[in-house]
Amino acid sequence: MSDDIVIQTRALGKVYRDFWGRQKVRALKPLDLEIQRGEVFGLLGPNGSGKTTTIKLILGLLFPTEGEALVFGKRATDVSKNERIGYLPEESYLYRFLNAEETLDFYGRLFDMSAETRKQRVDELIKMVGLDRARKRQLQEYSKGMTRRIGLAQALINNPELILLDEPTSGLDPIGTREMKDMILRLKEEGKTVVMCSHLLADVQDVCDRIAILHQGELKELGRVDTLLTVADVTQIRARNLTADCQNEIRQVIARHHGELMEMDNPSTTLEELFLSIVRDSEARPGRRANVEQTTSA
């Protein structure tokens, strides 16, 4: 296995059985997958498509019925691979009687980190996920968004090379979602490999280099996001400050070259962009109604 391949699955399959060994459901049909170092990889699919099962098989939380999963060239059941892995589960399954500092310190100890390193790392991560003011509060007092943030912090405590994120934006508000996506991109810039599974397609589209689409436990599509989403026979032109004459001239040029003009109008922004602009404006000028038109056109 090449050093550049971080995760490799070979005919990886999983069948859930009942107590008597009878087949209940085939959660994953033989899956061959290679995830390269430094890429952001997305596992997409509707509920029950096998994406969480795939993540759990890669982590060794489940044992494959057939095939195998290799992480950094080691079998998924080899605990030593976890030294280089960070995992954020679907829900942040953390000890709710600990506070943020204790939580991160505890997980740091599980990586055999020295007290000094732990202290420094805990401090960094708490600040990074924006929980500095709540660092002494027990997790049972945390909101869902805060719990996700501390969950992400624990996943990064060991400065991992590979980060597996199960539904990373679930339960987050738009700001939290944007921050999470920015964080994923930042991790990519740092050269880390990120594998995420989600059914929020927009999130995946925003951050993933490659995706695999699963349905009913079967791999349906695999490739680069930009390649998969490119519509080859359509050309898109975006320009600012065109006069009506200029627009007419463009229409004529298209007609002269026997092209079909599908759409020419003013685009609208996304609701996410609008929301974030309002929040930014409100933070900059508290107590005043936001100037949406000006902000969004800027």
């Binding site: 982590l59 605990v79 976890n82 000890y95 600990l98 100890r109």
Partner: protein, 606 residues
């Protein structure tokens, strides 16, 4: 003191064992080897059935090699982190409530335990230590059986096993964490109960002035006063005062008081000797029957419990203890009395009432086992099951009425001394077991003895925690709890369980017992011969084999308990403490290995 099994010296117990048994270490290795092989076989069968023979074999091989590798990769820091987490979790689960329950038990004990009992210390100590044992075992059970299953249920285990945490570290961390919590609770209970027993039983008396009578010696000279104390705490003492008005309120109800002169009054001080730690040195017991023929045991008086055997009164029947290494170093000399201190417990079996309120007369005689020189008999009165502490005088008359020295004349050149006990009343019997006579060495510290008893409770607690944690790696909380409870209950009745498994108990195995129950046949009725009986006994044979296998790993909780030592005022032998601690370590190691493989082969996300 009842000791059904002789306490062997530690090294002998560890390496070679007693007569007819093997040492603890070879036994442990044999059991580990046997169970390891069985586990391997079972693992292979299950894997082969699921994945085929080749893949199944590969899985088993990898599980074993990973296990060995991961053992070396165990990190104390991770174990400690998991232990601290377990401790925090225990505090969060309000484990401290157990302390409140303990204090409520003490309050009830102070209200309801009788202080007019003949030996109130025995009653108090026995109650407090037994209550502590059951309470601590209960806490250990609840903490250990529900913790890991809760992690599985809440899925917090996902964030643990996706870190470089070995399954063995999870098992060890839990066991260590709960053990530390239990140790803190036990320490608090130990100190509280020690103070409670001493404070509850402490009392004083007044010297009853009206009862005092002057005592004169043979020359008619005034040498002091005799009398009694006032009635307090449901008892009074005989008093002996010297000419200065100081003395002692004699031993009664298991204690005595010093009397000192303050001003013109004789003041009785607080009770002493309530908690004792007698240090016995046991000899070897043999018998003579009524015709004077040597026997290994006395006669049976029909008791099902064969711990003691009996000598019949007014015959040649004799109980003979032979003690080794007797030397003048054992001599006790307080200026008034000089001799060899011994303790004697007699179970009196009466075939007729005799004189009401009076004990049965017996005799003690010392004898040189080599020369046959015997002393004159020393008469005594035996009260049933009472500890009779006496001194065999250094200067003794022989049967030839000459005076002899105990150590020079009655001790053989190889240091042996025989002490013979007979019952002198016809139709009455004395019952003895080997530990019923002992040489009394200087008492040990009661505080240290208290610690040793708590160490034995601690050992039981740790074993329960190890069983609970191991069971919880595979089973859900309630099922793990039931499994552990079964282990505890069977452990407390281990001799009976082994008896059923070995076929030495009446009533047959489990199926036969059930059959007798529903057909209302008593346990000694012979079953009709035929197919049904053969089938029942055939199935029982399988069950009994399984039970015998299980008995090899079943902890003997009754034997681990040392409550009786403290209650009866005996020092817990250091050899027993070391043996119990070693056994505890063996259980923790063995169960951790089992727990490791159970957790390692379990799908965490199922």
């Amino acid at each position: 003191m009842i000791l059904e099994e002789q306490i062997l010296p530690y090294m002998q117990w560890l390496w070679s064992g007693g007569p007819g048994s093997i040492g603890a270490l070879p036994r442990f290795l044999l059991i580990a080897l046997g169970l390891g092989f069985l586990g391997l076989l079972l693992g292979f069968i299950v894997s082969a059935a699921r994945h085929g023979i080749l893949r199944g074999g590969d899985i088993v091989y990898r599980t074993i090699t990973n296990g060995v590798r991961e053992l070396w990769e165990t990190s104390p820091r991770r174990v400690w982190a998991l232990a601290q987490l377990a401790m925090k979790e225990a505090w969060r689960r309000r484990v401290v409530v157990a302390l409140m329950v303990f204090f409520i038990i003490l309050v009830f004990a102070s209200w309801f335990l009788r202080t007019d009992h003949q030996d109130p210390a025995k009653l108090y100590i026995s109650f407090v230590l037994t209550a502590t044992t059951y309470l601590v075992l209960g806490i250990a059970l609840l903490l250990s059986a529900f913790s890991l299953p809760a992690d599985f249920k809440n899925k917090t285990i996902y964030t643990i096993v996706t870190k470089p945490v070995r399954a063995g570290e999870i098992v060890m961390g839990r066991t260590l964490g709960f053990t530390l919590v239990g140790t803190i609770l036990l320490a608090i209970m130990g100190v509280s109960s020690y103070v409670f027993v001493n404070r509850s039983l402490d009392h004083t008396h007044e010297v009853d002035i009206n009862s005092l009578k002057k005592v004169q010696d043979a020359a008619g000279e005034y040498i002091g006063q005799d009398g009694r104390t006032s009635l307090d705490a449901n008892h009074r003492h005989e008093v002996e005062l010297n000419t200065d008005g100081e003395g002692k309120a004699e031993s009664n109800y298991g204690h005595y008081h010093q009397i000192v002169k303050r001003g013109d009054r004789s003041v009785v001080l607080g009770a002493e000797g309530i908690m004792r730690a007698r240090v016995p040195r046991w000899g070897k017991l043999t018998f003579l029957d009524r015709q004077g023929v040597p026997k290994q045991r006395g006669i049976s008086v029909g008791s099902e419990w064969t711990y003691r055997s009996f000598v019949d009164g007014n015959t040649q029947a004799t109980a003979i203890w032979t003690f080794d290494d007797i030397s003048p170093a054992l001599n006790y000399d307080d200026g008034e009395v000089s001799g060899l201190p011994i303790g004697l417990i007699v179970r009196v079996f009466r075939t007729h009432k005799g004189v009401i309120g009076r004990g049965i007369t017996g005799s003690i005689q010392v004898r040189n086992p080599e020369t046959g020189l015997a002393s004159e008999v020393i008469p005594f009165t035996a009260l049933d099951a009472k500890i009779d502490e006496r001194i065999i005088p250094q200067k003794l008359r022989g049967t030839d009425d000459k005076e002899y020295d105990l150590y020079k004349d009655f001790v053989s050149p190889n240091g042996q001394l025989e002490i013979r006990v007979q019952c002198l009343e016809g139709g009455q019997y004395f019952g003895f077991a080997q530990p019923d006579m002992y040489l009394r060495l200087p008492d040990a510290s009661p505080v240290v003895n208290w610690l040793k008893v708590y160490a034995s409770i601690w050992v039981q607690m740790v074993i329960v925690i190890a069983i609970g944690v191991t069971a919880s790696t595979l089973l859900s909380g309630p099922v793990a709890m039931l499994f552990t409870v079964s282990f505890i209950v069977l452990g407390f009745f281990r001799p009976f369980f082994v008896g059923v498994a070995a076929g030495t108990e009446y009533g047959g195995g489990p199926v036969e017992s059930f059959y007798r129950l529903i057909t209302q046949k008593n346990i000694i009725t012979k079953l009709d011969e035929g197919f049904t009986t053969s089938l029942i006994q055939g199935v029982d044979l399988v069950f009994r084999s399984l039970m015998l296998t299980m008995a090899q790993v079943l902890p003997d909780f009754a034997a681990l308990s040392t409550v009786a030592f403290a209650a009866l005022g005996f020092d817990v032998p250091a050899d027993k403490v070391y043996q119990d601690l070693t056994m505890c370590l063996a259980y923790v190691i063995g169960l951790s290995v089992v727990g490791y493989f159970l957790l390692r082969t379990r799908e965490v996300a199922r």
